[in-house]
């Protein structure tokens, strides 16, 4: 006996036409194999339909708020870690880029620095003299550092400092929404 398409129709009853449903019912009357499948599926479907929704333990909403708070804390810690790492890497990159170039200049400036320290120690009580020393210091620095580094290095450091301050502000004073800091 041919079981198709009736065997397939058993599981698609909601999509069958009236004629198809009648043909299926006629087939089920004479085919024990398909009738057994139809009965089995009806039993299973009945079991599924009688199975109720299962609820979580009481206090799910409260636990969800805790879950959200934990998530925000994790995000905040991760962002702080990224900030520190970025700063460290930025400083390292700046050191590598400019350290080699500035080292000879700094070595040349060592005697000058020593003399500054001596002068500062001697003249710290006298503000006018201190101003004079500062003038000398700035002048000596400008002489020893190439023009391009005088511009790029302070700008880089200023940018890094601004990034640091802005990030701290965001992490501490602005609220976190949707799991990220806005």
């Amino acid at each position: 006996m041919k079981h198709q398409p009736f065997e397939s129709w058993l599981y698609e009853r909601e999509t069958l036409t009236k004629d198809q449903t009648r043909d299926l019912e006629d087939h089920l009357e004479i085919c024990a194999s398909c009738r057994a499948l139809a009965t089995a599926w009806a039993d299973v479907e009945g079991q599924i339909l009688s199975a109720s929704l299962i609820a979580p333990a009481p206090g799910f909403s409260r636990r969800w708020r805790t879950y959200l708070a934990d998530h925000r804390r994790r995000i905040s810690h991760r962002q702080m870690g990224v900030l520190l790492l970025t700063t460290a890497v930025g400083l390292a990159v700046l050191s590598v880029l400019f350290g080699a170039e500035l080292l000879p200049s700094l070595q040349q400036a060592v005697p000058t620095l020593v003399s500054w320290v001596g002068k500062v120690a001697n003249l710290v009580a006298n503000l006018n003299v201190f101003r004079l020393v500062m003038g000398i210091l700035v002048e000596a620095t400008l002489e020893n550092i190439p023009l391009v580094y005088r511009v790029v290095l302070p700008l880089s450091l200023a940018g890094l400092a601004a990034f640091w301050v802005f990030s701290l502000y965001r992490l501490n004073y602005r609220r976190i929404t949707k799991g990220v800091i806005s």
């Binding site: 299973v44 079991q47 609820a55």
Partner: protein, 200 residues
């Protein structure tokens, strides 16, 4: 699932960053989402964790929600994808729990002892049968029977096609019917042997 009168307002407020409004949505949808996760994962602890994570994902993506769509379908879609991901990552087989944990409750009112026992047996039978299905087939069946979603909604939820959904549902139903026949024939066989023994 019918949308509540205040639901659209809660959704609107949640989209503007109101945590309390989203908490109301969690309160309303905790049972359907948890039930989906439990039916998929078969483990109360994992279902709780998956449901929490599904709500968190919904919270983070609430601004991507299209109000033209049913919120329940959107939420169940998130939970479905998360459960499928979990099952894919799962290194260990599904662990059967002989009994629901003591703190677990049915969403219905507390039934009488006999009804409770029958319900418990049915739940256990359903759970065991569902475990035998493939992940996607099981998901389609759950969305169809427990949430009454249309083929189109299921296809949308699972990022699939309607024909694929029909095919999966057909396969799941046939597999369950085959399992049921095997199970009942085994039980009938046992019963027959018992009867023969008692005849002597």
């Amino acid at each position: 699932m019918v949308e509540r009168p205040n639901e659209s307002e809660w959704i609107h407020r949640a989209m503007q960053g109101d945590d309390n409004a989203f908490a109301m949505l969690v309160e309303v949808y905790q049972v359907p989402v948890y039930n989906l996760c439990y039916r998929m994962l078969g483990n109360p602890m994992e279902a709780e964790d998956a449901a929490q994570e599904a709500f968190l994902r919904a919270y983070k993506g609430i601004n991507r929600y299209d109000p033209e769509r049913r919120f329940a379908t959107w939420l169940l879609s998130i939970a479905s994808h998360h459960c499928i991901d979990r099952l894919r990552r799962r290194k260990y087989p599904i662990r059967s729990l002989d009994e629901l944990l003591p703190w677990q409750q049915k969403a219905d009112d507390m039934p009488g002892p006999e009804t409770a026992l029958t319900q418990k047996e049915n739940q256990e039978a359903v759970r065991k049968m569902l475990e035998q299905l493939g992940d996607h087939d099981r998901m389609v069946l759950i969305l169809r029977y427990w949430y009454d979603l249309s083929y189109e909604e299921i296809a949308q939820s699972l990022s699939s096609s309607v024909s694929a959904v029909k095919s999966r549902l057909h396969r799941a139903r046939r597999q369950l019917a085959d399992q049921w026949i095997k199970r009942t024939s085994i039980e009938v066989g046992k019963q027959g042997r018992c009867d023969e023994a008692s005849a002597f």
